[in-house]
Symmetry: none
Subunit: 211 residues, 4 copies
DNA sequence: CATGAATGAGATTTCATTCAT
DNA sequence: TATGAATGAAATCTCATTCAT
């Protein structure tokens, strides 16, 4: 392969990547219908034409952005080592991982909300949907079993339900921070509040699984 | 006031009401940017012109719809009688109330999500925002105190955190049902699953407050 | 006639008058097409409906406003006594009268400009157009004749041309003050400038008629 | 640059130019608020969409039209050679130039009037406003000085005032021709009248500057 | 006589996309 | 492959006016 071709391919990938990143930001800020091709093109230092060139349509671009954020979460999840610590510490670590991920990736929350507004239409159309199925339920199932053998977790804990509880406690506050702040008349997303919220939530989970 | 005027005014309110209802459905299904005036007008058996006559702008209509769904929740909340039962039963009843409300009012969840996408812009603009502040935190605070006096609740429970936990556990699954179903590869919103989820969630809350 | 009826008639005239005044201001500020019924109604502390009740249409209202400003000018003109002073002083007085009138009645200038945009369509439709024909040309003709007999004015002065010159010199600067200020890069409508402009203009007229 | 590109660019400029010309005519006939995008598009054998493609908004199109008519006047003014004739002839020539320009460019008068209705809002927003400042005052100042040195002009003539007088005498009659005709009950804009008006006006100016 | 309610028609502007090379 | 130019269709919103007592 000539050097020229390699460079071109790299430019191509760079442009595609900038567009995808810009699109993620835009869809995250404005939802699907509210997103503007013009703004995406600007932010990506490219042109609207290129959106269509690389992704075919607005839907295609949204699907790509959605796949990218899910894919990134799966990559992070696959990095988890729940079996290297005692069960309680491992569970605590898992909670922290999930909650931190939400805080560090607001675009994930927003894109997921937008996708739910659309009844997961894009996700279901995605050819890569099988790659995006979460491995964490299996991981949690193993952890629960280990904890039960060690007699630190009680019996009768469903891994899906446990995962839902952990995710719920981290997601809800961030997803709804703006309306909650207005309606509870209290700032919820500063560090102090978030720290307390995570402590409470960890406490809730611990009491729930405690033998 | 003549009968004619009464009838007129009733029609007026009826038309306004039909538009508001149709708008709630449309915004709930499509978000703010995706909502179409034409569809709202059709559903309301009125004209696009009337949307502007009664609500001034698309934003005004959205704000009205949002105020309406919050207002309805507040009305329901004010109907709660947490002091008429023993503390544990009252807490359980409160959970059921919140979770049922979410299930029965999917448009509430969707509109709140949309409003968070917009960073509560409309809510903060609302002249009625003070009426929409929730009374439930105060109610929960009283209930917690009563439960503590009765020695069935432990000390150190923050009413805001308790409310957030309860709301999170009910909201998250419904709000994210479509992506969760795809990603966990499991149907989550059938009656059996929902019943189990509520049982688990009630269990979580009970264990959390237990003395 | 009962007192009741008298009062009603007075109210009626008062409302009509407020609308006409508000309309004059609105048409003057925004032209015909740019004028808004809503703003007129507000300024007149009345309703849009009343505009149609009293004046039939937007055109009707504009025509009425135009007739009113012309009528006011004619009334003022008829008050002129050019025969009570020596010719030169009378001519000077006439200039001052015209120029002051323009300065004191910016709505006259604006409405006349708007009417010219519409090729005097409304004026020609007006049933009162004959009342609005100016008496000043006749007055000037007499003044010129008197001045010529007194040998202070030269012969060969056309009264229409003299009137046009006087009007031009006062009207143009005010009518075009905004673009002239931008394009000559100089503020033209402050008192100092206006005083000088009038002095120059009076000088021009005097030199023109001088024997 | 390939021939294709050249042709394209020429077409592009051609379309833009047709729209600008059509817009000038439309704004000139109907003012800003009364102008219709549909009519402009039709006259330009283009589409309403293209108005926005090239000019962004109705305001942007008006601004462009305004800039164009001013720019054309400035170009013409820059062609003036006041120093190639004796002072009196040069002044006469200047008057003729100004007055002819007004007669030959009714769209200039109309657009300027419309812009004054809007208090020069668009002109002041124009990035090109500095290019549109008139060079004629400077030219007149030089001419006056030369005439004074030649003892054919008297001293004490302000060039701005002289310009205003000349412009006034030519502009007013044309700008107000329709209302003046109605109100003076005389046709003012036929060739005979215009010729006489210019003769009178030239006479006025000559007597004003005469030593 | 007076007025609150309603609205058809059309204006401006936007949006996602395709054309054409 | 890559891209500047162009656009049909539709969305939001406005305006002068009439309806109905």
């Amino acid at each position: 392969m000539s050097e020229e071709v390699t460079r071109k391919r790299r430019d191509r990938e760079a442009t595609r990547g900038r567009i995808l990143k810009a699109a993620t930001a835009e869809f995250s800020r404005h939802g699907f219908a509210g997103a503007r091709g013009e703004r995406i093109a600007q932010r990506a230092r490219s042109s609207e034409r290129m959106l269509y060139y690389y992704f075919g349509s607005k839907e295609g671009l949204f699907r790509a952005a959605l796949e990218a954020v899910y894919s990134a979460l799966r990559d992070a999840e696959r990095g988890l080592r729940l079996d290297e610590q005692p069960p309680l510490e491992a569970l605590d670590g898992f909670c922290r991982f999930v909650w931190r991920y939400y805080v560090d990736h607001p675009e994930f929350i927003s894109l997921v909300n937008t996708e739910n507004l659309h009844q997961a239409r894009h996700l279901r159309k995605s050819a890569r949907v099988h790659e995006l199925v979460s491995p964490v339920v299996g991981m949690l199932a193993e952890l629960i079993a280990r904890g039960q053998r060690a007699r630190v977790f009680r019996s009768g804990i469903d891994p899906v339900e446990l995962y839902l509880a952990i995710a719920s406690l981290g997601y809800f506050l961030l997803s709804n921070q703006h309306t909650l702040s207005a309606v509870l008349d209290r700032k919820l997303r500063d560090v102090a509040n978030l720290t307390r919220h995570w402590q409470t939530s960890a406490d809730i989970i611990r009491r729930y699984v405690a033998a």
